[in-house]
């Protein structure tokens, strides 16, 4: 049921019930008071009458019936009626309507008085009886229709009053109900916008219950908007990743397919055959390389890593060993300064990460240049710096180079066998170690890559 209807009925129904109850109780009470008053009055009157009649019986020589009749005639004008019974038989009545054949009233003793309210053919009477000194029963009946009329009048009046009041209050209740539920309705429309993907809602906030509800809703829609934007970003970057990956795999595949076809169908010279087969092998290995690197990129669980304490010299020796071919090829002066005690993490990955940075530095530098790997620690972290004096990276590219497959200079990088995944893998490795990688660079001057490995890894 709608809230506005609940409020409306919640006001009107109790009101109606209350008014009906009140008027009912009051009218009833008033009526019974009136009846009681009549009874008291009636009894007084009756006693007075009884005395007179008894006196008359003593003093007069006329028959009792005549005496009764004369009193009855007198009182008839005032709406009083007398009925006289002797030995249980009706001797006289001044009102033929009244029929007391089997009534208890006739079973009355001398000093006793019995009263009853009786209705005969729609007329209401107060009936009082007693036994006279001569053994007869005298019954007094007074028409009390007026009391009943009063009651009926009061009832009618109360109905009119109740209906009028209820109508007025109903109108007011309706207005109140609608006004109270207005903010809720507004909220509903705004929420409707949400479900259609429109996150720009702003409800009026306030200190009332509805007001603070509005505040919560506003906050929620803000959250949803952000979440939605984040998701879109994620989807886009995922699509970009797939596009790039697709391209990286397609290129070697094209070469493999092309050479294979030529070998199969063309009349190739021996020299060509050897060269084509070598290319096919090289491209196949390139795809394998990309595949392995991708697996590394998607590593999420730390549980798969071999996290342990490693002697730092071991790591740096491994790095030198891994990069020695390239270093020799380009006559690089690789200077490694070990000022730390140990690393905490996965040795293979740490070596891979630092070696990748050194490798990148070599490719960025001219032959014969110097590349520095420096290390130091404080109470919180272990730091490794890789510094080169190579061509540097522009500001716009610094953010992008950690993205998978992004290369600043495609031609140069592919010639070196790179797929553009090196820095993405480094970022991934640092994340796995709960660490950080920072890049500083200037075009024409050189670059510095900072690695931060936290010391206390709470696993």
């Amino acid at each position: 049921m709608k809230l506005s209807l609940k409020i409306f009925l919640g006001i009107c129904i109790p009101l109606i019930i209350a008014l009906v109850l009140i008027s009912n109780i009051l009218i009833r009470k008033s009526f019974s008071n009136d009846i009681r008053d009549e009874k008291i009055r009636g009894i007084q009157e009756f006693h007075f009458m009884e005395e007179n009649i008894e006196n008359a019986f003593w003093q007069s020589t006329v028959s009792s019936e005549v005496i009764i009749k004369s009193y009855a005639d007198y009182y008839k004008e005032n709406g009083l009626y007398l009925i006289y019974y002797e030995n249980g038989r009706e001797i006289y009545t001044s009102n033929t309507l009244i029929d007391l054949e089997d009534s208890e009233l006739l079973n009355v003793s001398e000093n006793d008085v019995k009263t009853q309210n009786k209705t005969f053919k729609g007329e209401h009477f107060l009936v009082i009886s007693t036994m006279l000194s001569n053994g007869s029963v005298l019954v007094y009946a007074r028409n009390i229709d007026s009391i009943y009329h009063i009651r009926t009048d009061l009832m009618n009046l109360s109905i009119i009053l109740i209906v009028s009041i209820v109508v007025i209050v109903a109108v007011i209740a309706y207005i109140i109900a609608k006004t109270l539920t207005n903010p809720l309705r507004k909220m509903q429309t705004e929420m409707g916008k949400l479900s259609k993907g429109n996150f720009d809602i702003h409800l009026k906030e306030g200190r009332s219950e509805v007001g603070s509800l509005a505040k919560s809703f506003n906050k929620m829609s803000e959250e949803l908007k952000n979440r939605d934007e984040e998701l879109l970003d994620l989807v886009n970057s995922k699509q970009e990743f797939i596009d790039n990956l697709s391209h990286e795999i397609n290129t070697p595949l094209t070469t493999i397919l092309g050479y294979t076809e030529l070998l199969e169908r063309a009349d190739c010279t021996e020299e060509q055959k050897i060269r084509f087969l070598e290319s096919i092998k090289k491209e196949t290995l390139r795809i394998k390389n990309i595949h392995q690197n991708l697996l590394l990129l998607s590593y999420k669980k730390n549980a798969d890593l071999e996290m342990k304490r490693i002697d730092s010299q071991e790591i740096f020796d491994n790095v030198r060993d891994t990069t020695k071919v390239k270093v020799a090829e380009h006559q690089i002066d690789l200077v490694i300064t070990n000022r730390i005690k140990e690393f905490y993490g996965d040795p293979t990955l740490i070596v891979m990460c630092i070696s990748n940075l050194v490798s990148n530095a070599i490719h960025a530098s001219k032959d014969g240049s110097k590349i520095i790997v420096d290390s130091y620690e404080d109470s919180k972290n272990v730091y490794v710096k890789v510094i080169d004096e190579g061509q540097g990276i522009s500001k716009e590219n610094i953010e992008k180079i950690v993205e998978p497959f992004y290369r600043v200079d495609k031609a140069r990088s592919r010639k070196n066998g790179g797929a553009g995944l090196g820095l993405a893998i480094c970022t991934s490795i640092m994340k796995m170690h709960h660490g950080n990688m920072k890049i500083e660079s200037e075009i024409g001057v050189g670059s510095t890559f900072y690695l931060e490995f936290p010391k206390n890894l709470q696993l």
Binding site: D243, S246, N250, T251, Y259, L262, R265, D267
Partner: protein, 222 residues
């Protein structure tokens, strides 16, 4: 009619080489360029009949380079690894004549080049080899200047061999390309038709049997 000239623009040397070999075997003259700048520069020296252009080029992207060729009314076929319809439409809207995704088979590339050249009215409609002249536009074959009667099956087979010259074709490939998929023939019938062609055209050593594979029409242009 001289050989058609093709400009190959792709940053991968191996891909350039593969395409060049395939095209030269098929009778095209090829020139290479490894990026957009070099490609446009080469236009100063010679004018290609068609350009094969990779979309993902360093320095200048493929779409920008294409403008230069569209200006000179040189037909373009885009080469790319991206499958997306958006890119395809973008390429075609920019004026490319066709679009082929890597990796592609040599046969497909050759066929598409041929279709584009034909559409632009630049195709080679006459083929000559060892006293035989084939006119594709008239579907006529002449030996030593005199017309020779070939059944339509023989002619279709001949056409496929010529258009894929210097590249071996398997019997199944020949069946499919020359006579269509739903020819439920035995591949033996290819052998029979090859024999007939050899005899009719005196091409015993032109149509060469490739052991365990199929047949190849050998015709060195240079």
């Amino acid at each position: 009619m001289s050989n058609k000239k093709v400009l190959i623009v792709d940053d991968e040397a191996s891909i350039r080489e593969i395409i060049k070999m395939n095209l030269e075997l098929a009778g095209y003259d090829c020139f290479e360029a490894e990026d957009g700048e070099k490609a446009i520069k080469s236009l100063e020296k010679f004018e290609p009949d068609i350009v094969l252009l990779d979309i993902m080029l360093p320095k200048m992207d493929g779409y920008q380079v294409s403008e230069e060729f569209v200006k000179r009314d040189i037909p373009i076929i885009f080469l790319t690894a991206k499958e997306s319809t958006v890119d395809k439409v973008k390429g075609l809207k920019l004026g490319a004549d066709d679009y082929i995704t890597k990796p592609f088979e040599a046969m497909e590339l050759l066929a598409r080049i041929e279709v584009v050249l034909r559409r632009r009215g630049k195709e080679n409609s006459i083929f000559k080899c060892k006293n035989v002249e084939v006119d594709f536009s008239k579907r006529e074959v002449k030996l030593n200047g005199e017309k020779i009667e070939l059944t339509s099956q023989e002619y279709n087979l001949l056409e496929v061999l010529i258009k894929n010259k210097n590249l071996a074709l398997s019997r199944e490939m020949l069946l499919e390309k020359a006579w269509g998929y739903d020819y439920y023939g035995d591949t033996r019938t290819i052998d029979i038709h090859i024999q007939r062609l050899r005899k009719k055209l005196n091409w015993e050593d032109v149509i060469v049997t490739v052991f365990k594979y199929g047949y190849r029409l050998e015709n060195e242009n240079k």
